[in-house]
């Protein structure tokens, strides 16, 4: 089991593909250190093995080192999901000393202009190159997370080279997933089918070439897939997310689903919420599934795909994920992708604290 601890929505970047909700939470409403410590205690007791400190930008929290140390003392494997901005050598050293096991560093592009355009800030590439260096100098293993889309997929080879040069042991080639801000910007980000096919070829060749050096995680994005992803490993099966204000969510986009009631850690324990919350039980298991999912032999493999995507594309969170060829809307989903990718890319709508 894994816990995604979204410590804050504050972030120095403004990526138009951010998966955070459109309505972001303010710093003054964030959970305090003591509450996060309690959450980590409760998570360990619940059987959580890994905690991912995320955001927003978790480095914006001054108590990050304390929370990492507390998680490590609970026996949790600690992962920091970061933009690397801002990260000094001293802070990287403090994170390592606190017991951080691993850091995942995002990279927007391999060219300076692209990195600034896609991240919505200045001098991003140079600062991230420095962040990778100080993390490695602090003795931390890193994964490079490369978010790929129509505007940067032609740099995939360079991205793989950069991962090796940064000393990453792992690279996530993460096609944009269309939730939150990314859904707003879908037409500006959607790649063409030939771009995806080329990316798959590049990754396949690199995996062979770099076996034992770099692990590459890669999945074909939903809009061009034929089977849905097992989103979150199944709703309420092995993942929970605590957002900056303490709501406990089955996935980071779950707040988009109307009618779901989310319990908060301010009122209940993580164990109570995991077992009893109506939100976790709404799509847990297979009883809630519609046809053709209910009688599908893959129902406990892909768990009917993604609820938030079903909602975004069909208006019904309980529908079959249109990423599946068995969904009546699958062809339509594919057409949306093809049409948007073939059209001119609109301007980005950058992520902002004050919503849309």
């Amino acid at each position: 089991m894994a816990l995604l601890a979204e410590l804050t929505h504050r972030c120095p970047l403004a990526c138009p593909y951010c998966s955070n909700p459109l309505q972001l939470e303010r710093g003054t409403d964030e959970l305090d250190t003591e509450t996060w410590r309690r959450i980590l205690d409760e998570a360990a007791r619940l059987g959580v093995l890994q905690v991912h400190f995320s955001g927003g930008e978790p480095l914006a929290r001054r108590d990050l080192e304390h929370l990492i140390a507390h998680a490590a003392a609970c026996g949790l494997y600690t992962n920091l999901i970061t933009s690397g901005l801002p990260l000094s050598a001293a802070r990287a050293g403090a994170l390592a000393a606190a017991g951080l096991d691993h850091a995942q560093l995002s990279l927007q592009d391999t060219e300076a202009a692209g990195a600034d355009l896609f991240g919505g800030a200045h001098n991003i590439l140079a600062r991230k190159t420095e962040a990778a260096a100080v993390l490695r100098a602090a003795g931390l293993p890193i994964t490079l997370n490369a978010v790929m889309h129509r505007r940067n997929l032609h740099h995939l080879d360079a991205m793989i080279d950069t991962a090796v040069r940064f000393g990453a042991g792992r690279l996530e080639v993460a096609h944009v997933q269309y939730y939150g801000w990314a859904l707003r910007n879908r037409a500006a980000l959607m790649p063409t089918r030939p771009q995806i096919d080329r990316a798959t070829e590049i990754v396949t060749a690199a995996r062979t070439r770099l076996s034992g050096v770099l692990v590459i995680d890669y999945v074909v994005p939903d809009y061009y897939a034929s089977r849905p992803k097992a989103c979150m490993g199944g709703w309420g099966q092995r993942f929970l997310n605590v957002d900056p204000v303490g709501r406990v969510l089955p996935c980071h986009a779950a707040t988009t689903i109307p009618g779901l009631q989310f319990d908060t850690v301010r009122e209940k324990s993580l164990a109570e919420i995991w077992a009893d919350s109506t939100a976790f039980n709404r799509f847990r298991g297979t009883d809630w599934m519609p046809e053709p999912c209910r009688s599908c032999e893959r129902k406990e493999i892909d768990w009917a795909g993604c609820r938030c995507q079903a909602l975004a594309l069909t208006g019904d969170a309980a529908a079959t994920d249109p990423a599946c060829t068995l969904s009546p809307l699958h062809t339509e989903m594919f057409s949306i992708a093809q049409n948007e990718a073939a059209g001119d890319a609109p301007e980005f709508i950058y992520r902002r604290m004050d919503g849309e």
Partner: protein, 94 residues
């Protein structure tokens, strides 16, 4: 740039960021890696707990042959196959 291949004289060790620990709740050995967790059975634990970067695959197999009272050739074939897979998936390095 490519990694050296696995051989009987290789000294496998955990990749950076990979940690093995006993999970009290599940009463089971686990291998934690970035974004991944493997539950280890007795054999996998016996092999991986010897991947200390000092023992050769040969030495590791000799110890297992004694511990499990099985012919070393058979053990060696299984161990090589498992380590090759673990190497490819990035859990161990040489």
């Amino acid at each position: 740039m490519s990694a050296p291949g696995l051989a009987s004289v290789s000294c496998p060790r955990f990749a950076h960021g990979v940690k093995m620990r006993f999970d009290e709740a599940r009463q089971q050995w686990m291998l934690n890696a970035p974004e991944r967790v493997l539950m280890l059975d007795e054999i996998a634990h016996a092999i991986l707990s010897r991947c200390d970067g000092e023992r050769t695959v040969d030495a590791l197999c000799r110890e297992l042959a004694l511990e499990f009272a099985a012919p070393q050739e058979i053990i060696q074939a299984d161990v090589m196959e498992m380590l090759q897979e673990m190497l490819h998936r990035g859990f161990i390095r040489l």
